[in-house]
């Protein structure tokens, strides 16, 4: 049995930020992560982050990761690696398989920051070896330093599709084209411009009709889409590639929150089902907080701010910060979050996050009426 004041499930950007805030306030923190190293997907982000100086704009993702790991070490946060949470043993005890052994982790407060996983789209040949997630390609080139293929077709022109295409080129692969079903490029102009400057076409209103190959990918047939997303006959183009990457969105990894009894809402613009939470990131289960992509797919920078908010909130609930001090801290974080969620790309996310909080308040007042 491990006893801790705050258990954090998931050691990615959100979980680590939560741990740093809570431990800085004086709380005893245990981070549980199923991987053999902490950092989540931060170490494959080799591009410079956006935002302001407070968001570490201009610093590359993996450098932010290294800074956070140093802080975690300095604050003596207990990090359990190769550790999978598989059940709730009772109200405040998690059942964990830690390095092959079952252990229980009893915590007064819990923060779940399990992140998100990549979506897929289906077409003939989508299961062939060589059809991979864009995130998989990014992990292979930037973390393991291995090229998954030499000639790549990218599906999706959101930020993941744009950034990973550029990073594949940096690693020495030949990206032949990006296809985008929507009639416009879906990510930031600054990322798209790098792709176009490199001479790689971004084919909007196009999709993959099929991937060909016997044992692995030999090529892809790309087809134009009309305004109702139907294939335009006669518009087929063949690309000889050995790899097809999918960057078609992510879905929150919400299984654990389901298991823990959180109430959910459905917001397609945030990736699907997300747990309801209040302005302090606390869910419908008292003492259980959430942060990061699990609460709606955004970016590492927003995940870190949400993690900080959850970390401060959990520390306050344990009596570690006086409430006036904590309110100042939380307000600073909320302002930074709002800044990250502004502009044409951020406003939709800002609105969706407000909806989550409103629906949370809705179930609270409903419960109040029933009681």
């Amino acid at each position: 049995m491990i006893n801790t004041e705050i258990a954090i499930v998931g050691g990615g950007p959100a979980g680590l930020a939560a741990a740093i805030e809570a431990a800085s306030a004086g709380a005893q923190v245990t981070v549980i992560d199923e991987n053999s190293r902490p950092g989540g997907q931060l170490f494959k982000q080799i591009h410079k982050f956006f935002g302001s100086k407070a968001h570490l704009a201009g610093v590359r993702g993996f450098e932010i990761g290294n800074r956070m790991l140093r802080q975690i070490q300095d604050l003596r946060v207990n990090v359990c690696l190769d550790s999978v949470v598989y059940a709730l043993a009772d109200g405040n005890t998690l059942a964990v398989v830690k390095q092959g052994q079952t252990v229980e982790v009893r915590a007064e407060k819990m923060i779940v920051a399990t992140g998100a996983s990549e979506n897929v789209i289906n077409f003939p040949g989508w299961t062939l070896p060589g059809v991979i997630g864009a995130g998989a390609a990014q992990t292979m080139i930037n973390v393991h330093r291995v090229l998954p293929g030499k000639r790549v077709l990218m599906i999706g022109s959101g930020n993941v599709g744009l950034i990973v295409s550029y990073q594949l080129m940096q690693a020495g692969a030949d990206v032949v084209a990006l296809v985008e079903a929507l009639p416009k490029i879906n990510g930031y102009g600054v990322h798209a411009a790098k792709i176009r400057r490199a001479g790689v076409p971004i084919l909007v209103s196009h999709t993959v009709r099929e991937v060909q190959g016997k044992e692995n990918v030999a090529g892809a047939v790309v087809v134009r889409l009309d305004e109702r997303f139907r294939h335009v006959p006669g518009s087929e183009q063949f690309f000889a590639v050995d790899t097809v990457c999918m960057a078609v969105g992510l879905s929150p990894l919400s299984e654990l929150c389901r298991l823990l009894g959180c109430q959910f809402t459905y917001l397609p613009e945030m990736g699907g089902f997300v747990p309801l939470h209040d302005a302090n990131m606390e869910t419908s289960v008292p003492g259980l907080y959430v942060a990061g992509d699990l609460t709606g797919v955004e970016e590492a920078s927003t995940a870190m701010e949400e993690g900080r908010l959850a970390g401060v909130s959990a520390a306050v609930a344990l009596g570690y910060l006086d409430s006036a001090q904590a309110e100042v801290r939380k307000e600073e974080i909320r302002i930074r979050l709002e800044n990250l969620r502004s502009g044409p790309f951020g406003e939709g996310r800002n609105t969706a996050k407000q909806v989550i909080i409103q629906r949370y308040q809705g179930i609270c007042s409903q419960a109040g009426k029933e009681a």
């Binding site: 299961t127 070896p129 991979i132 997630g133 998989a136 291995v146 044992e215 692995n216």
Partner: protein
């Protein structure tokens, strides 16, 4: 193919090379890298065949979520090779179908044998 020199990440640190076995072939790998990364570095991306129709599969997510990359490692089937580190002398096999535990091909029989020997249930 390995990304030896990189504009942002610089040169690859001097690796600790180890040998492992893939379907009877001896291959080199960097100690501790995932099995899947070592295989991809050798241009191998077919890891298994599906149980019903024998279709080829390889990696998809590379972060231990999708289970597409499972292989038989040191006789144990269904190991996620994208997160399992390579160790010297490891035996990695393409997995055909669901795979089999060689020692426990019939776990039911094994349990019955234990019972007959007057095991824990007396």
């Amino acid at each position: 193919m390995r990304v030896e020199d990189h504009a942002i990440l610089g040169k690859m640190p001097e690796p600790q090379w180890v040998e492992f076995e893939f379907d009877g072939q001896t291959l080199q790998a960097i100690e501790g890298e995932p099995i899947a990364a070592a295989l991809l570095a050798h241009g191998i991306n077919i890891f298994r065949k599906t149980p019903k129709t024998g279709q080829p599969r390889g990696i998809f997510c590379a972060i231990g979520r999708c289970n597409d990359c499972v292989m038989t490692v040191n006789g144990v089937p269904n190991v996620r090779t994208c997160v399992e580190p390579v160790k010297a002398g490891m035996k990695v096999q393409s997995q055909i179908g669901n795979g089999q535990f060689p020692e426990l091909a019939h776990p039911g029989e094994e349990a019955a044998k234990q019972d007959n020997q007057g095991g824990c249930r007396g």
